[in-house]
Subunit: 203 residues, 4 copies
DNA sequence: GATGAATGAGGATTCATTCAT
DNA sequence: TATGAATGAATCCTCATTCAT
């Protein structure tokens, strides 16, 4: 029922072109107000062509998230690899999260607004890529605990929810403010809170 | 364009009956899959009657949030009044946020899922009640700073985003887990993080 | 899933008006080439109103057949009641079959052409009313056998197939000829064949 | 607009392969539910190739009928040639009609169901091959009249309609019964009816 | 000749909203 | 006030057909 990234280069190219067009179209018009025809026009193809690459409109939405999240995760993992300290990694994570969305305003709008659809099937399609991000954060927290930096009394899942929830809310407020200020300027304050919130009290 | 709470008691009664019916209906079917006819049936009235009390379907959604948020804020303020310490108040806030939604599952579903619509006009209607909650939290933070408890270096807005974002994410994960565990059991961990995250280092 | 004739007079009136409009529209444009909008226009109502009375376009087609077949059967039964001889009844049947369709050209077109859709669900919806006609003919044949008029060696079902098949083919040819000749003029020849074909040889 | 059987052997071979594939595909899925792509897949060729041999989907349907009817007529004529008595010929005809369709279930499904489309152009394309069968039957009847066997008072056309209509209805009922019984077992009864129905009373 | 990716016209159906009663 | 029958705009998706390769 759902699409997969085509293996053949030529097909993959058009597949990604539709993904990018859809991202822009969704960000501009909003999911429910963005007709398939608008995506097609943005991609410079016929309406029907969309359905050679995607099962339906919902599948386009979910696929945009999956593809963009893949890119996000790949880049983030590469950066995290350069560090060992959980504290440094946390800093890298928050910085990257903010920087990436600040550099990709349509993606920010898409993730913070368009993606929040109440349709159960959309929720389901989003769950998997999101889960991977969740797990990456939880791994980071567990590493911090092993390194004796993070408070082992705090359950990892709650810590992850605080970290992700904080970043998510900050980005949301930024998006709803029409991005009038720099998102990254929040990094220091968030990190201050999160670091002292998660670390063991060091006398 | 938007409705107001009717002053006359009889009208107000039916108005609130529709609000409650809509909350249940939205929670059960989801906003887009919940026809106005379903709200009317749940309220035991005719479809057309809804439009004597609300401008349109969007207005019903926004009004549900406004009314329920009013109740929420009234109760929360009453509780906070009993305390002066910002730390205690933070504890009261988090406890109340979790307890209230745990006791009102339909409201939890409504707020975490149905409310997240991408329609600009809905976003706008939600903004005002939400802003009041934001301000209440920010006031609490400022009090903490004045009391010398909270770190004055952290901008109040960011602190509020961390507090609200953490709670919001925790409730969301709970709702999406089909509420299989107790929401309140997260209170201690969150408070641990938030308190040590926000307070000044005390040697 | 399928519609039922409304009991309330006012609703029944509009229901029948749609049935009649659909009969004309189907006969004029053909089922697949007859948009729901054309039925609505013919009935002088809005497109959506059709769906207050019928589940879908298919249901309209099937209901037209059911209603028209009901009328047909009611009238036919009333006529048959006036006779006891199976031979006379056969004559009444064939005469009525031809006369009725000759007087209702749209119905003839509808039954001989539009109704012959390959969709399985349509076939299914048509089956029941058609079966009643089949059974009426078979009852007539069995009476003839009991009266010692019809050949008891011939299986009733085959006899029915010959009677119905003959009439059906004659009406079809007449419809496809654009009804350029009188359908009823075939009555005598058909009856001659059927009567001597079915009766016992009387030396 | 319509296709012709290619003269060149190689082309004719693929032409017939498509015909056979289409027969199976139409019988399996039904005309409207059978996409051109399904015919192509069944034939093991590309979608576009169909259009090198046929004008359009309708043309495929009509051509299937034309080709299969040609085979049918060729075989039937060869059999009839072996007899001179109209009564014998009638017997051969009915036997062959039933046997042929019983041996070719897809063809039976195709003729009794898929072919009955309301599209005027399809009806037109079918008319010619069907007319030839009609004429063959009428010739047989006229021979019977000349031989003093068949009742000359009965108009030939009506007699043909009874013969064809009877056979057609019997096959239809058999197809709709999912071919659960032997079609041929009806031969004797039909012939009994038709023979005594058409022959002159012989004292 | 053969392919199959691309096209884009076409339509049944839903449902928020209205308004005559 | 309340009703609920009627409205009609709005759109995703299919699939026969084309044509560049």
């Amino acid at each position: 029922m759902s699409s997969k990234v085509p293996a053949e280069p030529r097909k993959r190219e058009k597949y990604m072109a539709i993904i990018d067009a859809a991202l822009e179209a969704f960000a501009e018009y909003g999911y429910h107000n963005c007709q398939v025809a608008k995506i097609a026009r943005q991609a410079g193809i016929a309406d029907g062509t969309i359905y050679l690459y995607f099962a339906n409109k919902e599948d386009v939405l979910v696929s945009v998230y999956r593809e963009k999240m893949n890119e996000f995760m790949t880049q983030l993992k590469a950066l995290l690899q350069l560090h060992t300290s959980a504290l440094e990694k946390l800093s890298v994570l928050v910085n990257f999260h903010f920087n990436h969305l600040e550099k990709n305003p349509s993606l920010a709008n898409f993730i913070q607004i368009q993606l929040r659809q109440s349709d159960a099937s959309i929720r389901l399609g989003i769950a998997e890529p999101l889960k991977q991000y969740y797990q990456l954060i939880e791994t980071l927290i567990d590493e911090g605990k092993e390194q004796g930096i993070f408070n082992p009394q705090i359950r990892t899942k709650v810590a992850r929810e605080v970290i992700f929830g904080s970043m998510d809310e900050i980005v949301s407020c930024w998006v709803f403010s029409s991005k009038k200020y720099s998102l990254s300027k929040n990094v220091d304050d968030v990190l201050t809170i999160l670091k002292s919130g998660l670390t063991v009290y060091q006398s």
